[in-house]
Amino acid sequence: MKAKNQRLVLALLALVALVGAVLLGMSALKDQASYFYSPSDAVRDHVELGRTVRLGGMVEKGSLRREPDGVTIDFRVTDGAATVTARYTGIVPDLFREGSGVVAEGRFTAPGRFAADTILAKHDENYKPPELAGNGMHETGSLKR
């Protein structure tokens, strides 16, 4: 093989690899990316049960209830229009409280019932999951970062 031809082969190989990466990424994104739901979305779209998704909204006032085991909580997530009942076992982050915003990662176990594996905490004072920014929830502090 001449040097020129080999360069061509290498360039093609790189191109194939990158196109492959983009295709692989896009197909995985199709499965994984539309992964954030508000309660209204969840009710409207009939999210596939058991699939890992994020649920974001407001913790409804007066909905927080603690199970006798001391580490499980039930609460309702609302966006004003629709409401989903969520259950979480674990230690909740400090900014989780009634009437404030929440993003929970987990899955729907039945329509309108959500089992959370993780309540997303903030990486730092000003971090908020992108889904919550801009709607006035979760406003804390004035520190820049």
């Binding site: 190989l13 994984q32 954030f36 908020k128």
Partner: protein, 645 residues
């Protein structure tokens, strides 16, 4: 006075950067050689001025000068001394100043230390470094001035983000930044070599130590950041595929690819265009990362509206630098003399596969990180891309990459026979199979990724030390040791990740003081809960006494800290490290019945993750030593242009 002096130093440094670019480019013209002599002191003076500005800001933070807006906003006199100092870079403006300071020092280091590069290429390189610095000086001065004064100084500052009040702050950001910004040298080298059309083994040998150095710091910074997040956030996880983390992983992937391709260029004069391209891509990824983290776009696309100037400014800089370098690449690369060809079955063949896989992983991480931003700005749809995407795409490819890593070092340069390679890696391959059988027998029911991870880790650990087999260890060159160490580190780290993912035991319970709970092999007595005062917080601290078999009991004291300025609670995990893993404990809220939430993990061999990272960095440092110790013969031999091409 000090703030004004700092600002003045910054302006002078910016002008020196402009002068540096001008002199460097001017010296490329015929008869401009004289200018090159002037460019070195200019680069050094620029670094001294920037350092002065940085020291000024540090002093303002240390002495809590509240008339400076940044200090008032991000610090307070009650903040402990360490965090008043390290707090200098715990905010946007300060961290950008650190970024620019390191950039200027890197430029001065090139001007002072670089002796291997041909004069003209060096001049072009220093000019490129000046142009980069100029852009970021402009960013600081026009949209992120750290020295801005307040009309009226407040009585007390806003305080400092409690999550950042940890010794990790003193180490992680500076290390990471040295890595990020160190890659600018590779970028400038590439631009310089393109300007003078001088890409060859001499260029690669000159560039390699700089890439190695940046890569070592990047590795250390990422490893430290991962451990910091692991113990500070109290979630028990060590990597979250958070965009901020991806921003540091992407330059690392590119730099790792570059490190390997630059070796092909240095040794075999192959992959010329590709190596130059990677050098451009690596620092471009650093700038993309800086843009993602510093523009506020990560919080949301809306952050643009909050401070449109800043985000737009970095975006323009990005477009200028990356676009400019790529345009130069497109215009010049066809005129760079062709490199050597090579046999597919050879060391360089394996390194090409390494480079392809790293590039594909990089592309996947980049797509996953930018997709939500792109989707939101185009369709307004809010979505996020989380661990399932990254694990499903990057995970399998990383495993293939690790497998290639086992075979690569066993191959010869130029040309090899498949049978001979197979014979050389027969023992590690056999060990891999034995490991697979052993794991299947001892720990049945593992998921596929942890299973493959553990198996491959065993095989690769064996294969990575194979290059030392039957060698006189004392005469083995340092860079071979470096390669062995770094590859071993990757295997060690992989073993830790797989073990953590496969064998972690977790207990979550609400317990009363006096009760005993168990997690993994440990019985843990919940001895007491006490209030404990701290310098600028009050803590509620649990005392846990953990016993395993007849070993001495371990006392752990996880706590919840409540800061009042700013008002925020942080959870302080308590971790006990043993040779075979870590016991990780977190205390939560009080719940009715006099109980407290406790979250306990036993994480077997989790420490290997960061130990592996440290080994990789040590490997890089050894290579760096091995490559930069004087080896004049080799340098004299290569003149810069292809000997074969």
């Amino acid at each position: 006075m000090i703030a004004e002096a700092g600002l003045a130093a910054l302006w002078i440094a910016a002008m020196l950067a402009a002068l540096q670019a001008f002199l460097g480019l001017g010296s490329l013209k015929a008869g401009g050689e004289e200018l090159l002599r002037a460019v070195r002191p200019v680069a050094v003076a620029q670094a001294v001025m920037t350092l002065g500005a940085f020291a000024a800001l540090m002093w303002l933070f240390y002495s809590t000068d509240l008339s400076v807006e940044l200090v008032a906003e991000d610090s307070a006199s009650t903040v402990p001394t360490l965090y008043r100092i390290a707090g200098t870079w715990g905010n946007h403006e300060g961290s950008m100043l650190l970024w620019v300071t390191i950039l200027a020092i890197a430029g001065a280091a090139v001007a002072l230390l670089e002796r291997r590069l041909p004069e003209r290429t060096l001049a072009a390189t220093i000019a490129a470094q000046g142009v980069i610095a100029l852009g970021f000086f402009a960013f600081l001065l026009f949209s992120s001035n750290p020295f801005a004064r307040l009309d009226i100084a407040p009585a007390e500052g806003n305080g400092f983000n409690p999550l950042l009040q940890d010794p990790g702050l003193a180490f992680h950001p500076p290390t990471l930044y040295v890595g990020y910004v160190g890659l600018s040298v590779a970028f400038s080298f590439a631009v310089g070599a393109l300007l003078t059309r001088d890409v060859g083994p001499a260029f690669a040998k000159a560039m390699r130590p700089w890439v190695l150095g940046a890569w070592v710091f990047l590795t250390l910074g990422i490893t430290a950041g991962s451990y910091w997040a692991y113990y500070e956030l109290g979630w028990g996880g060590w990597w979250f595929w958070d965009p901020t983390e991806n921003a540091s992983l992407m330059p690392w992937l590119a730099a790792t690819a570059l490190l390997h391709s630059v070796t092909v260029l240095a040794t075999r004069d192959g992959l010329r265009a590709w190596t130059v391209m990677l050098a451009v891509v690596a620092f471009s990824m650093s700038m993309v990362g800086t843009f993602l983290v510093r523009s506020g776009i990560l919080t949301s696309v809306h952050a643009f509206a909050l401070d449109p100037k800043r985000g737009a400014f970095i975006l323009v800089l990005l477009a200028l630098y990356i676009g400019g370098a790529l345009a130069l690449f497109g215009a010049r690369i066809a005129t760079v003399a062709e490199g050597n060809r090579f046999d597919p079955v050879s060391r360089e063949g394996a390194l090409v596969i390494n480079n392809l896989l790293l590039s594909v992983i990089l592309a996947l991480v980049l797509i996953g990180t930018l997709y939500p931003l792109a989707a939101e700005s185009m369709t307004g749809e809010k979505l996020s891309v989380g661990p399932p995407y990254f694990n499903a795409t990057a995970g399998p490819l990383a495993l293939i990459l690790v497998a290639v890593m086992a075979a690569g070092p066993a191959m010869r340069w130029r040309r090899d026979e498949i049978v001979a390679v197979a014979r050389r890696i027969a023992i590690p391959a056999a060990l891999t199979v034995i490991a697979l059988v052993a794991i299947l027998l001892l720990a049945p029911g593992l998921r596929i990724l942890p299973l493959l991870g553990l198996t491959l880790a065993a095989g690769v650990a064996a294969a990575s030390v194979a290059p030392l087999w039957k060698r006189n260890l004392r005469r083995t060159p340092l860079f071979t040791w470096g390669m062995v160490m770094a590859h071993l580190g990757a295997a060690v780290s992989l073993a830790g990740m797989a073990s953590e993912s496969a064998f972690t035991k977790e207990t979550l319970i609400a317990a009363r003081p006096g009760e005993t709970v168990s997690v993994g092999p440990y019985a843990i007595r919940f001895a007491a809960v006490d209030p404990v005062p701290g310098q600028n917080f009050t803590a509620v601290q649990a005392t846990l006494i953990a016993t395993r078999g007849s070993a001495d009991p371990i006392t752990l004291t996880p706590a919840q800290r409540t800061f009042d300025n700013p008002p925020q609670t942080t959870s302080e995990s308590a971790i006990a490290t043993r040779w075979d893993g870590q016991l990780y404990t977190v205390v939560g809220e009080p719940v009715p019945g006099g109980r407290w939430q406790l979250r306990l993990w036993w994480k077997p061999f989790v420490t290997l993750i960061w130990l592996g990272g440290a080994l990789i960095a040590i490997g890089g440092a050894l290579s760096l030593l091995g490559r930069s110790l004087p080896r004049r013969k080799v340098v004299a031999e290569s003149t810069g242009f292809a000997r074969f091409g």
